[in-house]
């Protein structure tokens, strides 16, 4: 665990770059992490990020299947928004831990 500065704010991250405290997240942090991943965030991205955060904060185990049935995107859309690792990248940008799930 380490402290780093993103978007001018000091936050705690683990060694894979995930926020260890989701409450430290801000939209600016999301934008900067997304830039690192080569993604420019749009409103659709933020809609999905809000969904991911709400699910995590309600204690729901996230799976890619759940996101596909969320009504915000289908699975193909999810891969288009966050190419090369949608759940992995989406959760990092959303400031929540990497989902512990094989699906």
């Amino acid at each position: 665990m380490a402290t780093t500065t993103i978007a001018g704010k000091e936050i705690n991250v683990n060694d894979e770059g995930y926020l260890t405290d989701p409450t430290q997240w801000t939209k600016e942090i999301a934008i900067e992490i997304a830039n690192e991943e080569g993604i420019t965030l749009t409103d659709k991205h933020f809609e999905l990020i809000e969904y991911l955060r709400n699910q995590h904060l309600s204690g729901v185990q996230l799976t890619i299947r759940k996101v596909g049935t969320s009504g915000i995107v289908d699975i193909k859309g999810f891969y288009e928004l966050f190419p090369g690792g949608p759940l992995k990248k989406g959760s990092r940008i959303a400031g929540i831990p990497k989902p512990v799930s094989c699906i």
């Binding site: 699975i75 090369g84 094989c102 699906i103």
Partner: protein, 168 residues
Amino acid sequence: MENKKVQNPLKKVLIICSKGNLEDVYAALVMANGAVMEGIEAKLFFTFFGLDAITKKKMNNLRTATVGNPAMTMPGGIPFPTILGILPGVEAGVSIMMKKEMEKLDIPPVGEFLDMITAGGGEIFACKLAADMFKLKKEDLSEHVKDIITVGDLYALAAGEGVQIIFT
């Protein structure tokens, strides 16, 4: 920000599924979906009894063996008696129970699982030899299947660096 980066990450996996049991097919599907979720290119190849997983008439009725399956136990842990396994309906019943447990973990039915894998860019293939043997044509196979290919084509799919072939 310095992040732990994987050294020599895997770029592509070619997963071969040669069995038609519920657990063997799902092992291959979870591996393929897991790969696309990690940004790894995935090719999924079905052969012999694995073709059941991509045959329209059979893909939603996969079963697990209740006879000759030494790893199967009763709830509680005692070995599953073979004499119970041969009774009509037991194989179907146990298979349904397994599917229910998987559904609780958000593991989808085979068709939906193939949707997810192809949505992530994964490609599904059938073995020409096995298809000829079982007299199956492309129309008999699920629409997810990209093509029916030979073993030579299979090895061509595995070309490149950072590739692994996984046989289940």
